[in-house]
Symmetry: C2
């Protein structure tokens, strides 16, 4: 940890700072690009994880042309950075028609609907052509037409086909229930069940004249662990570019694959308590926590850095408490002993999307 | 809720937006200013809650001249907006001497130390005079010299007095254990215990020649509930300007006193599930949660707005789930029925400091 602190100091880091292992991020991108190509499916990566034009370029030079975002402001940001095929994978905000029409003038825009009411609101306000995904809930319980209500899905699809300025783009699902898995086998079970449900809805719609009816899926756990995506046209994973400790817990990656961490200066040492306090709190990491055993939560683990590459998570040194700006780590004496005030710890986050959202300013 | 949505629409709100009940914030400020004046203690409010020059002006016009912040970048921000008496209430980052010297040229700067090592690092690098608080941990367990180690506190105080460019500013404590209270009586017990402990350290230091030795305290629960601060020179509460649902749970305020909320558009309606989905997620609210009963967490409650003033929390309509951009609320049929896609819900946050930090961009 001392050598890591010196390497971070050599970069001139003073305040809590997001640090990227770019070689690992590139490796994560290339692996997913290669997997999609081998499986014969399109890759439309979700850019909510990094929200960065610079990281976006790492995708673009590897052939990615179509992206996913989770809000209209994020779509506007990437449109301003030259992306022209953008899908907004959150049920459309029908209050934002001015932004939608402005964006649709400039880019190939795909929006997400899950009700006839949303299609009607768009039909009444669109001045530009947009593509519309129909969201199917494959059992996650967040948003979308329930997978076991195909007649309802058909009604929305027919409304899309009939609406002016609207083009049917297919079915979209997010099998977020994969985040409750804890093993690759558990992830595979979610994957199989979710795809079966989606193909049943697809078959129903096709039997009623809605064709073609491509399927777009895309949570990081299933996209990381599975190699076959039968019946799927498009993958939309996002988190895989950086991964994080939650994905390690789910079984989607190893901690050696995490590509982002936060450098935090030590501001207090308590050898008797076996703790150090860092400047690094909820405004840097978010309050997302791992429940590592009943009643025990962890907000991060330190790692090491050598020649710019991160090592594995040091699980013997958990970040156990966060307030707004303070973080407390439990450190064994042999790790704590050599560390001084002002030394920098490099800490993996639990949820990289939320940490990067906080730290990217 | 429909009338509230219409009032928010009249303000032109489209995307998730932070909304302030300014009259209530002013009332909260005036109450705390009046309480400090009546108790004969100085008020140095913590500006980490709002991080806003505009909200700072609401304090300035009511006579506040000295402020608290929780990072050096925040100190630089308020220095740039005309504040010239700034205390940084987090153990000093000894790596940031360049920033410290630059700030200390422009403002009356108070930093926080809790070890001889920190004083030595400052003494070696300071080019400007700074005041130094000595942090005492009154039993919270985060940072500071333990209240029952007065000889250690004396050693740090003596190091401050002896160090070039350093002036001893007194004892500082944050009785964060008050956040575990659930009743005013529980808050009062923390307050009494914490002040007793601090006055014992104060007496020990004074008996060894460290005088004057003023005491600065300042968590929102005790400052909200208590009226007497025996032996205290200065109060540093922050959250009270807006309050939030956590402070209601602690017993520090009522929901009618909350002055900040997030307006979120409804993006999906599920009458059969008794739920709506809003565009409003962890990137807007943070993941801070209330445990309302074992195994049941809440991330927010809606409220109403009339003539710009917020109503009480609608606890029958909890925000029960958050992902990055989506929030799910459980709504009784009589509330859900009249609401349409695109209507705006106004939702109180669990922790206003973290929500405002996310939304202030």
């Amino acid at each position: 940890m001392k050598a890591t602190s010196q390497a971070l100091q050599a970069r001139g880091i003073v305040e809590p700072t997001l640090v990227l292992d770019e070689a690992q991020a590139v490796r994560n991108i290339e692996r997913m690009v290669g997997k999609a190509r081998a499986a014969g499916v399109a890759l439309r990566p979700h850019f909510k994880t990094h929200q960065s034009a610079a990281v976006g370029e790492l995708f673009r030079v590897r052939g990615v042309r179509a992206i996913t975002v989770s809000s209209l402001p994020m779509a506007s940001y990437f449109a301003a950075h030259g992306w022209d095929d953008i899908g907004v994978a959150i049920p459309v905000n029908v209050r934002a028609l001015a932004t939608i029409n402005e964006l649709a003038q400039r880019v190939r825009l795909t929006l997400l609907v899950e009700s006839v009411a949303a299609v009607a609101a768009l039909a009444a306000g669109l001045a530009q052509e947009v593509a519309l995904w129909l969201e199917i809930d494959p059992g996650y319980g967040r948003s979308g037409v329930a997978y076991d209500a195909p007649a309802e899905a058909l009604a929305v699809a027919q409304a899309i086909v009939a609406a002016p300025h609207c083009r049917f783009a297919g079915l979209l699902a997010h099998a977020g229930q994969s985040y409750a898995a804890r093993t690759p086998a558990g992830i595979a079970a979610v994957h199989t069940q979710s795809l079966t449900r989606l193909r049943q809805v697809q078959a129903y719609l096709q039997a009623h004249g809605i064709a073609p009816c491509p399927i777009s899926v895309g949570d990081t756990p299933t996209c990381s662990v599975m190699d076959d995506f039968p019946g799927v046209a498009e993958l939309r994973p996002g988190n895989f570019v950086f991964y994080d400790l939650m994905q390690v817990q789910i079984g989607a990656c190893s901690s050696e694959e995490i590509a982002v961490a936060v450098a935090c200066p030590i501001i207090a040492r308590y050898p008797q308590r076996g703790q150090v306090v860092v400047h690094g709190g909820a405004v840097h990491f978010s309050k997302e926590a791992l429940v590592v055993e009943p009643g025990r939560v962890v907000y991060g683990y330190p790692t090491t850095m050598r020649d710019g590459r991160f090592g594995p998570a040091l699980t013997q040194a958990p970040l156990v408490s966060l307030s707004q700006e303070h973080g407390i780590l439990n450190l064994p004496a042999e790790l704590l002993g050599p560390l001084a005030l002002g030394d920098l710890l490099l800490i993996f986050p639990v949820h990289s999307c939320l940490t990067v959202n906080l730290m990217r300013r």
